[in-house]
């Protein structure tokens, strides 16, 4: 690696980058709401990761469920006196609190995996089309346009009605509806970068296109993509919940938050509110927390784009 390239890739002096990070941190911490969102999000992540140790019951181990304990209101003790159901039990005698922790886990996994995959696919497509332009760009962007002209929920619905139920299938469907957002944003950002001097310089040095794309252009496209990724994470979790609610998402024996709400919906009408209500609160907290963070990130990282 030559010295010139080194400087190119570091994006300026190391000190400058550090100070930018500090500035970013300061700006981020300035918003109390965003910090609150961050804390909530961290809390949710911890609860999800440590669910097996925190939850009083494994709601997926159906052999431990005793049907006579079903539909207990919050604060009841199970029939054998062994367990306190702080948030009650559902129609299958699952402890609602435990079910929420495990459901949170599934919702977050689905969200994180699908967004990461969509990020990878979308960013690649976007960068490639921006860099090469011409027919590649026209073709890729045409697909993106078609994809975006269909409402996400419809595409996901039709896809899932084909694929069937399952955590993995929901992830495929979510990737399929989300990659286009990343592709469009990555292309937009990369086109701006493409014409900047450092890229011209790198081209003059006849570096391979992969290298220019990934080591020079891509790092500078990350901020807008990060904003989209955050917002899409919330979107993915909400969409997964919606699909599960409509009955085409995860299977009933491995409930995500949306599935829990859907199960509880039938009971809610007759006044057994807790089965749907508490998972609903949990879902709202996660989604709002992520959006608070994402909203503020957007304000900091691309102030022009306020919508």
């Amino acid at each position: 690696m030559t010295a010139a390239e080194n400087i190119l890739e570091s994006g300026g002096q190391p000190a400058m980058r550090e100070s930018m990070l500090r500035l970013f941190a300061e700006q981020f911490l300035a918003s109390k709401l965003a910090v609150l969102g961050m804390i909530l999000l961290a809390l949710c992540l911890c609860l999800a990761i440590f669910a097996p140790w925190i939850a009083p019951q494994n709601p997926f181990d159906i052999g431990t469920l005793n049907i006579m304990d079903s539909k207990l209101p919050p604060g009841s003790v199970s029939g054998d006196g062994a367990m306190m159901h702080w948030l009650g039990t559902d129609g299958q005698a699952r402890d609602v609190f435990s079910a929420i922790l495990y459901g949170l886990r599934i919702s977050l996994i689905v969200g994180l995996v699908s967004v990461s995959a969509a990020f990878a696919i979308g960013a690649t497509a976007g960068l490639i089309s921006a860099y090469f332009g011409g027919r590649t760009e026209a073709l890729l962007m045409r697909i993106v346009d078609i994809q975006l002209s269909f409402p996400a929920i419809l595409v996901a619905l039709v896809l899932l009605s084909v694929l069937g139920k399952g955590v993995d299938k929901v992830i495929y469907a979510l990737v399929a509806v989300q990659w286009a957002y990343f592709a469009r944003a990555a292309r937009g950002a990369a086109i701006v970068e493409r014409n900047k001097e450092y890229v011209q310089a790198a081209r003059c040095m006849s570096l391979s296109w992969q290298r220019i794309l990934w080591r020079h252009i891509f790092p500078n496209c990350i901020p807008p993509l990060m904003v989209i990724a955050t917002i899409d994470l919330a979107h993915a979790i909400a969409l997964e919940a919606t699909l599960s609610f409509l009955g085409v998402g995860v299977p009933v024996t491995e409930p995500s938050l949306g599935m829990l709400i859907s199960n509880g919906f039938e009971y809610m009408m007759s006044g057994t509110y807790w089965i749907a209500f508490f998972p609903g609160i949990a879902l709202a907290l996660v989604v709002v927390a992520i959006n608070l963070v994402g909203d503020h990130l957007r304000d900091i990282l691309n102030p022009r784009n306020e919508i």
Partner: protein, 307 residues
Amino acid sequence: MSALVFAALYMIGDPVLMLASPEAGDAERELIRQSFGLDLPLWRQYLIFLNKVFVHLDFGKSFLTGEPAIGLILDRMPATLELATAAMLFAVLIGVPLGIYAGLKPESFGARSVMTGSVLGFSLPNFWVGLMLIMVFAVFLHWMPAGGRGPVQAFGPIQLSIFSWAGWRSLILPVATIAVAKCALIVRVTRAATRECLPQDYIKFARARGLSEARVLGVHLLKNILIPIVTVAGLEYGQVFAFAVVTESVFSWPGMGKLLIDSIITLDRPVVVAYLILTVVFLSLLNLVVDVIYTILDPRVQSKARA
């Protein structure tokens, strides 16, 4: 797209098994299959379908009811239009004033609350909002019905439920569900547009001329921020149309979206395919309408067009 849906619905299940009474023998099932043309190879079914659609504008008959699919959808359309239009009207009527307020005094407590509220509004999943509204207003307070559509009256060729109090009682919760999310979006667009317009010369000039604040905002500002609002509202109207799938399922609203879900569940392929094609046509028309309004509103676009 139509091919994809066609093949997809073919693969997942056999509509005949759903339709035929379980007591029916294989011979009866085979007869049904033949009468629907389901015994032919898939590609021939598809060609026959294409021929009918493009040559005769015939989308086929619903497997379930024997009525033309397109008629079934058009029958349900007024209900969805009613819902989407009412929701969008509310969103605009509430969203625009709030957005202008938030744009005028961005640092005030009120504006901050509005903006935080809008994050909640667009991040909470649609079905979640509907659920909570049902829980509060239908299950606990018994103020509104939990679902369904009120009595309808003919208005020209279509049946609407907005002419009676009972109709509005059923309409208000689903409308609120959709309006919450769209209102949040309109608030953000309006605020951004307002902040962009305020420093412009014509506002300063209007103020300098001593015009009342009401006139400055009501005429000069509103005229200029209308363009982005109309664009977003128009495009969102299309989204509402598609997303009504969710709201209609939650509230058992007898619209097109509910029909789509029911048809996916009963594998009523002609209806699903016809729905998707109609939606695409509708969305394209909507884009066209938005473009036209855009030209009318923005004199610059107009003059360019003339030149």
